[in-house]
Amino acid sequence: MANESLEAVVEPQLVQSWIDQIGGDQSATVPLLQAVQNQYGYLPRKAMDLIIENTEVSGRQLYGVATFYAQFRMKPVGRHLIKVCHGTACHVTGADRLNTSLRFQLNIHDDDQDTASTGSYTLQDVACVGCCSQAPLMVIDDQLFGNINGAAAQKSLRKHARQVGEELVKPEKQLK
């Protein structure tokens, strides 16, 4: 697995600090998961274990909630995250083409793969970021790129990569 290096190193003190701050009763489940995900970009097993050990939240409860909501992800994430909006306006204006072109640019070819093999970018579909008049659009980290087509998405990605010092591998054409 090329993505293994993306596994986060979880610091127990940090997890404990969130528990101290947010609380450890059942209603803290979602905020705790959000704190973990904000820090690591996904929910590392180690952090989940720490929450189960140190709060009233059971494993059943924690994983039940984590797998219910679209926000949470169990797999490690690339160094940068690209969210492609798939709201209604984006869908009818060609959001699918953004996915095609970005996957091509990042050499992500398997359907169940969402991160470039170099670990640079992870591609994620999101429901709607609420900027429908700029459709179709994508968000790279915190930066929004609106009114783009597939070609413009590739260009924006290349520009972003230059800015943050990520190297993009030359796209390889795939057979159908």
């Binding site: 306006a89 429901a127 609420g130 429908c132 008049s133 459709a135």
Partner: protein, 593 residues
């Protein structure tokens, strides 16, 4: 250069930032060092972003749209040393001369949105200058009773703007009368309709108004604790709301003994974690309690047994945004707008194939045609508008022949669509209605919480049938099955998600059956969208041999000789119909059919 007394105000909502407001701010600071530049929230004219208002020394105000680095130079020149008036960027000017751009704002009646884009959302002072917290202060100082407040809201006739449309006063009465040691008020800002963004804009652009709406509702029902449930996907809304809450706390407008009265009210922000079903109030409460966001059977209604088992009232952001205005201006002033069935105004998020898109607030009873053409300016493409989608994944499509339908709950429901939260997606002839129905069913299936079998599995079966049809493998029997299955899902689901999920299928079947038939009988997608039924062909007579299509093609389907006119062609066996080549082709010589 005379930049004296020039005030520059840049719209910085999420859309403005996306369109490059930061660059515009920088360009202004570079052009006029030390200039008085500030940012406000989004005016809702998303199609004209970035928007900038210039106030000159005389106090005259000019608003410009589509501002970028180049136009900044033009605008600065005009206002400092004189020069050509940047005519094509003007939205409004002091002489109030009407132009194409100004129709967008002038066609609206802004009550919920009255301050959005007018003030710095993080400034309590500016909010107060525009009557912020005036209504709650008046209620607390005049000794207006809970019933008086509820009665005023009852007179206004406002119905819930989140989708279901229950009269706000009715919900408040139930919650007020319910016995309970602790009552809760919840702000529902889990705007899940992928195509609606008025709640985002209200939270980003006028958070103090939303907080005041919560205060009034809390007073009316007797709640001392509140939750603001806001989508995590709206970072700016969360930030501005938090700032507003902190400032309100500081000013004793929130917290204990508000403004020296007996009233106490504390708000906690809960970030929604991305589940459409959490817009349903019982699911939303489960989510706050730390559970999977699954709806529960009603009754008991939340007003009786809600959050943590206590009486709870849940109101949508837009509903609460109207409340301070209603108290300040009186219920009758609000009910003067609208129709017998639906009072007041409603905000719509206009997007898709529309020339002027963004947020539009109009009185109920305005026709769809007026919104689309008078305010929205009609189609943004060379193709005519064929339908609008109203109500998101729970709503339906309304075809062009019904555009004279007035926007009110009953009339919209009669078309098969629903008012919903107000997402209005405009579609031209390049949208395939079967594909659209499939898109919504995929969404509804993914977002189904899984509690009810028909919703969980029925939505999947519907989606499978639709995929079969878009693949050109559908049968006439499928159409009957879709109809039967849709009705079964609607009647056998606990909450509104399942209860309305098949609406997009039923309405497209009702109004665009010909498109279903074209897919099934002729294996043809009239809008040239469905990938299995289209092909890409180079019109070689127009090909300039630029090779851009080859570079863009992800599958090596395109071959030709660089710089040789007319040499490129597409191998259909390798082509995945992704249309990447169409995007880059300069002479527009790739035909999709």
């Amino acid at each position: 250069m005379n930049a004296q007394g020039l005030e520059i105000i840049v719209g910085e909502g999420t859309c403005g930032i996306a369109a490059g407001s930061k660059e515009v701010m920088e360009a202004f600071s570079e052009a006029i060092p030390g200039a008085n530049i500030r940012s406000v929230s989004c005016l809702g004219m998303c199609h004209m972003e970035v928007i900038t208002e210039i106030k000159d020394a005389k106090g005259d105000s000019y608003t410009y749209g589509n501002v970028d680095k180049k136009t900044v130079a033009k605008i600065v020149k005009y206002h400092t040393e004189g020069g050509d008036f940047p005519e094509e960027n003007v939205i409004s000017r002091p002489d109030d001369l009407e132009n194409e751009n100004s129709k967008y704002i002038k066609g609206q009646t802004r009550i919920a949105l009255r301050n959005v884009g007018e003030l710095d959302p993080t400034s309590l002072e500016q909010s107060k200058a525009r009557d912020g917290y005036k209504a709650i202060s008046m209620i607390l100082s005049s000794g207006m009773s809970q019933d008086d407040v509820i009665n005023e809201v009852k007179i206004s006739g406002i119905r819930g703007r989140g989708g279901a449309g229950a009269p706000a006063s009715m919900k408040w009465t139930f919650a007020k009368n319910a016995p309970g040691a602790q009552k809760y008020l919840i702000l529902n800002g889990d705007e899940g309709d992928p195509g609606a963004f008025m709640d985002r804009s209200l939270l980003e652009g006028d958070p103090h108004n939303v907080i005041e709406g919560m205060l009034i509702a809390a007073y009316a029902i007797g709640a001392t604790k509140g939750y603001a449930y806001i989508r995590a996907e709206y970072p700016l809304a969360l930030k501005n709301f938090q700032t507003a809450m902190d400032d309100a706390m500081e000013a004793n407008l929130l917290g204990d003994n508000i403004l020296g009265s007996d009233m106490s009210f504390h708000i906690k922000i809960k970030e929604g974690a991305g589940a459409f079903v959490c817009g349903e109030e019982t699911a939303l409460m489960a989510s706050i309690e730390g559970e999977r966001g699954m709806p529960n059977l009603r009754p008991p209604y939340p007003a009786i047994k809600g959050l943590f088992g206590m009486p709870t009232n849940v109101n949508n952001v837009e509903t609460l945004s109207n409340i301070p205005w209603i108290i300040n201006n009186g219920g009758p002033a609000y009910s003067a707008y609208g129709t017998d069935d639906s009072k007041g105004t409603k905000v719509f998020a206009l997007a898709g194939a529309i020339k002027r898109g963004g947020l539009v607030e109009v009185p109920m009873g305005t026709t769809i045609r007026q919104v689309l053409y008078d305010i929205g300016g009609g189609s943004s493409s060379k193709y005519p508008i064929k339908a609008v989608q109203l109500g998101g994944p729970s709503g339906g499509v309304i075809p062009a022949e019904l555009f004279d339908t007035p926007i009110e709950y009953a009339a919209i429901n009669a078309t098969g669509a629903i008012m919903g939260s107000g997402g209005m997606i405009v579609m031209d002839e390049k949208t395939c209605m079967v594909d659209l129905a499939k898109f919504f069913m995929e969404f509804n299936h993914l977002e189904s919480c899984g509690k009810c079998t028909f919703c969980r599995i029925g939505t999947l079966r519907i989606q499978e049938i639709l995929s079969r049809i878009t693949d050109g493998k559908g049968t006439m029997e499928d159409i009957d099955t879709l109809d039967v299955l849709s009705r079964q899902v609607m009647t056998s689901s606990l909450c509104a998600l399942g209860g309305t999920a098949p609406n997009p299928v039923l309405t497209t079947l009702k109004y665009f059956k010909d498109e279903y038939l074209a897919h099934i009988k002729d294996q043809r997608c009239p809008a040239a969208v469905c990938k299995s039924l289209i092909s890409h062909v180079v019109i070689q007579a127009d090909c300039t041999g630029c090779s851009l299509c080859d570079a863009a093609c992800p599958t090596d389907a395109i071959t030709g000789q660089k710089k040789v006119v007319g040499s490129y062609s597409i191998d259909m066996d390798k082509c995945i119909n992704c249309s990447m080549c169409v995007e880059v082709c300069k002479p527009d010589c790739i035909l999709v059919e």
